[in-house]
Structure formats: C-alpha cells, structure tokens
C-alpha cells in the first residue's frame, strides 16, 4: 500500500439513515480490537469489494466509501495490510490505545475525507 492507496470501507445501512452518512461508519467495532476493517483498494475495486463483503462474507453494506493511506496518517492513525484467508485484500486502520472520545473525533475526520471523495459504490 502507498500513500495514494484508497482504503475501502463498507458502511452498514444503520449508519446511513435517510442517506446521511454518520461518523459511526468509521468507528472501529469493539470486536475488532480497536481496528477498523477496510479493503486495500490497490488489490480490489469498490464494486468487487462490495460483492465480496455482501455475497462471500454475507454481511450488510449500504455502500463503499474511501479514504487514502495519506489521509489516515495525516490524522495520526496508521494503516496496514492484514490479509485473511477469506479476504486477501483485507487491511486495517489502527485506533489502538485511543479513548472512545478521541476515536469519535478521528472517525469524524475520516468521514469528512470519505464524504469529500463521494460514495465509490452503492447498492
């Protein structure tokens, strides 16, 4: 992954009420050990990642939004590849050690980057 790599985030429908994106889409889930799951956009396109997430992994997604590795590092977060057997293009944005209030602020910043880029694929 390079600074220009777009990290693709699948956004659950509950976090986009009436089409209004919320920062909850970029908050790491408790089960994910303070890490936000994304797809490495150099390895998989937005539409393909959507199909993989919803059809292969059988999860729900309202659409795909993206932030670059440079944007992630610009707000003092880190990103890294994290290939999994069922998801070779899997990557992470690491929120480790950040209190929940700080996570919320960082999630808002990631949301702002993603909204500026626009939805990359929608259902």
């Amino acid at each position: 992954m390079t600074d220009k790599t777009v990290l693709l985030r699948q956004v659950h429908p509950a976090f986009v009420p009436a089409g209004q994106m919320t920062s909850q889409a970029f908050m790491p889930f408790p089960k994910d050990d303070e890490k936000l799951s994304v797809y490495d956009g150099d390895q998989i396109g937005a539409a393909e990642s959507y199909r993989h997430y919803t059809e292969t992994l059988n999860n729900e997604s309202d659409g795909v939004w993206g932030v670059t590795c440079a944007e992630v590092s610009g707000i003092e977060l880190t990103s890294q590849a994290d290939p999994l057997p069922e998801s070779p293009a899997h990557a992470l944005i690491d929120f480790s050690g950040k209190p929940s209030g700080v996570c919320r602020k960082l999630a808002k910043k990631l949301k702002a980057f993603a909204v500026a880029r626009g939805c990359l694929h929608s259902r």
Binding site: P17, S23, Q24, K31, G101, K105, K108
Partner: protein, 366 residues
C-alpha cells in the same frame, strides 16, 4: 318474532379467532340499508302505478346480530319483527328477494351485473364491505348454495360500474399547510409531494392554527376518501380522527431503533435497551427545539446512540443508555474543540441539554 335472514362468512387474519371486529358492524349496517333500499325498488317495480312504497314498508325489518359462529367468523343476521313481514312476492318477502339479488350482483362476472339490480344502488357498496382489508373478504351465501365473495377489489369494481370514483378508508400522514377557515378545511402536504384538502370540524381549528405551517408536526388523518379507478386519491370525504405527532422525523427514527435485535450489526452489536430507549425518545421528541436542524440518530454497537448533525464543526452527541449520559463534541473553527458532558436523569437536565444545543447549534446553523 325472530327469523334467520343471512349468515355471511368473514375470511381473513382478523377473523381467525372466530370473532368480529366492531368496525365490521358498520358494513353489516350498510348491508341492511342496501337490502331495504333494494326491496323498496323491487316493490315499486312490481307495482308500477305507485310512486312510493306503502307506509311502514320497512318498519318491521330490522337485522340483528344474533351470534357469531366459527369458520372464520360467521355472524348470523336475523330479522326481529313484531309481526310477519306481510309484503311478499312469490312466497319470498321483498327483503329476501333483495338479499338474493345482492348476492347475485356480488357474484356476477365482470360487466355482467344482473339487469334487475338498479345501477343507482351500486354506490351502496361504498359502505358495504368498506372495513375489509386487502386480504379479507365477506362471503354471501346464495339461495342455490353458491357463495359470492365481496373483496375490496370487487367492491371497488361494483361502485365503478356506475360511478367515476369509489370510497375507501384512508390514513394520511402529512403536515398542515394553509387553512381555509370559511370552508373549515386545510391543505395536507404529504411526504411524497402530493396534497389533499381535508375537511375539519370547528373543534380542530385551534390545533390547525397552532401547527399549521410547522414542518416538524405531523398530522395523521383517518377517515374516508374517494379514489378513481387508478386508485388515485380524489377527495377526502370525511374525517374520523386527527392525531398530531411532534418531531415526527425523530419519532420515526426512534421507532426504527426500537426494532433492532441483538446481533443487528452482522451478528454483532447490542440492541438498545427498549425501556431506556423509550425514555430517551420521549424526552427528545417532546423537548427537541423546533428551530434547530434535526440530527441523524444511529445505534452504536455498544447499545448506545449517536446523534450527529450535518453542520459546520460536525457536532455530535454520544448518548449512553446505560448511564444516561451524553457527550457532546464539535470542532471549533479556531482549532479548538467544544466538548461537554451531560447527565440526563431529570427533566431539568434534559432542559439544560436542549438549551445548550440551542445556543451552540443555533449559531452553527445560522
């Protein structure tokens, strides 16, 4: 004297317990009216020299609901009369003849209504069967053992055979636009952009004055409307009830949240506690300042709520339903941030939060 007259059968989910919802009584009363009107017509046809039926023609004809039998619900309608219904034709009373002709009319194939049934009485099917839902029907037994099924669609076609519109029950949601006090009506603006003129009783005038033009207040109108053959609403004919819902957009959002179950987030995610959610919803719906933009309200995987506004500074509140605490955060243009924590265990504390939002978001929204 009591004589069994007809035993219709009501079929559909509402009748599975072999009971009859009270609103269906209106349909049965309308059926009785149609029987009487049709009997009068048949009498006058047999007595062409007469302009009107004899005095007291229908005085002894009163249908009573005698009992409700199983399968699904079969109300027995009996004639309770002081004496014998004397006016008869060929062994049957005109009322019995009317009963059989109604059944024949309901059963008739499309475009082949019985000649003996007068077209001007088809409008009675605006009332007969009006309470039936889409998956329900009222079956009328015929004299020959056959059955005629009156469904909402059949009812519509019977009325439209003689009229350009038909009536059915309506429940419309929208906001109150301008009111016409002289005609005692108001314009209802609905979410899909359509509008309807709604008649209102004088008792509703104060509420129409208070909530007219206020987009946060939804009015629900229940009553009867006319529809054309394409099922497009033509007119609100009458209104049975009005209900006002403040901040209805928030109410809809909280209703959706209350439906969440544990595991809502791809197998993970705690659902908000229903009781705590209800308490929070009531406070926010009742007290949220009218002139502030509405937030998006979404669940968090921990069972809490996020309220977030699409405003400069990305203001948000993380609301814990476990502790009834709210953490407000917004970016300030001057590189600093606004952060404030609220405990929300009393009405006064909720008022404090709303006052804070008015002050901080009011400036942002301006």
């Amino acid at each position: 004297m009591k004589t069994e007259f007809i035993q219709p059968r009501f079929d559909g989910a509402r009748f599975s317990e072999h009971t009859l919802p009270l609103e269906v009584a209106k349909d049965l009363a309308a059926y009785e009216t149609l029987v009487v009107e049709l009997a009068k017509h048949l009498y006058l046809q047999d007595h062409s020299g007469r302009q009107r039926v004899p005095k007291g023609f229908d005085a002894d004809f009163h249908l009573h609901l005698e009992k409700v039998d199983d399968g699904s619900a079969r109300p027995m309608l009996s004639v309770v009369a002081a004496g014998v219904l004397a006016l008869s034709t060929g062994g049957n009373t005109y009322f019995e003849k009317a009963r059989d002709l109604i059944t024949e009319c309901v059963r008739a194939p499309e475009g082949q209504l019985p000649q003996a049934f007068p077209r001007n009485l088809l409008s009675h099917f605006n009332q007969v069967g009006r309470s039936l839902h889409e998956d329900e029907c009222m079956e009328l037994p015929g004299a020959d053992g056959s059955v005629a099924a009156l469904t909402p669609d059949r009812r519509k076609h019977l009325v439209l055979a003689a009229e350009s519109v038909y009536e059915r029950e309506i429940e419309l949601n929208g906001t109150i636009g301008e009111a016409d006090w002289e005609k005692s009506s108001f314009r209802l603006r609905m979410a899909d952009g359509s509008q309807a003129i709604v008649p209102m009783p004088e008792s509703f005038h104060p509420q129409a004055r208070e909530y007219g033009g206020r987009s946060r207040f939804q009015v629900t109108v229940k009553g009867v409307g006319t529809f054309d053959s394409w099922d497009k609403l033509q007119k609100v004919v009458s209104v049975e009830s009005f209900a006002i819902q403040p901040n209805y957009q928030l109410s809809v959002a909280f209703d959706a949240l209350s439906e969440l179950q544990d595991g809502w987030l791809d197998g993970e995610g705690r659902a908000p506690n229903k009781e705590q959610l209800s308490t929070v919803a009531e406070e926010i719906i009742a007290g949220y300042p009218e002139h502030l933009p509405l937030p998006a309200v979404v669940p968090t995987p921990e069972g809490g709520l996020l309220l977030e506004w699409e405003l400069s500074g990305s203001p948000s509140i993380d609301l814990s339903l476990d502790s009834f605490t709210a953490e407000f955060h917004a970016f300030d243009p001057g590189e600093t941030e606004i952060e404030r924590e609220f405990v929300l265990s009393s009405a006064g504390q909720w008022s404090e939060l709303f006052a804070f939002l008015k002050e901080s978001l009011g400036e942002t929204a301006a």
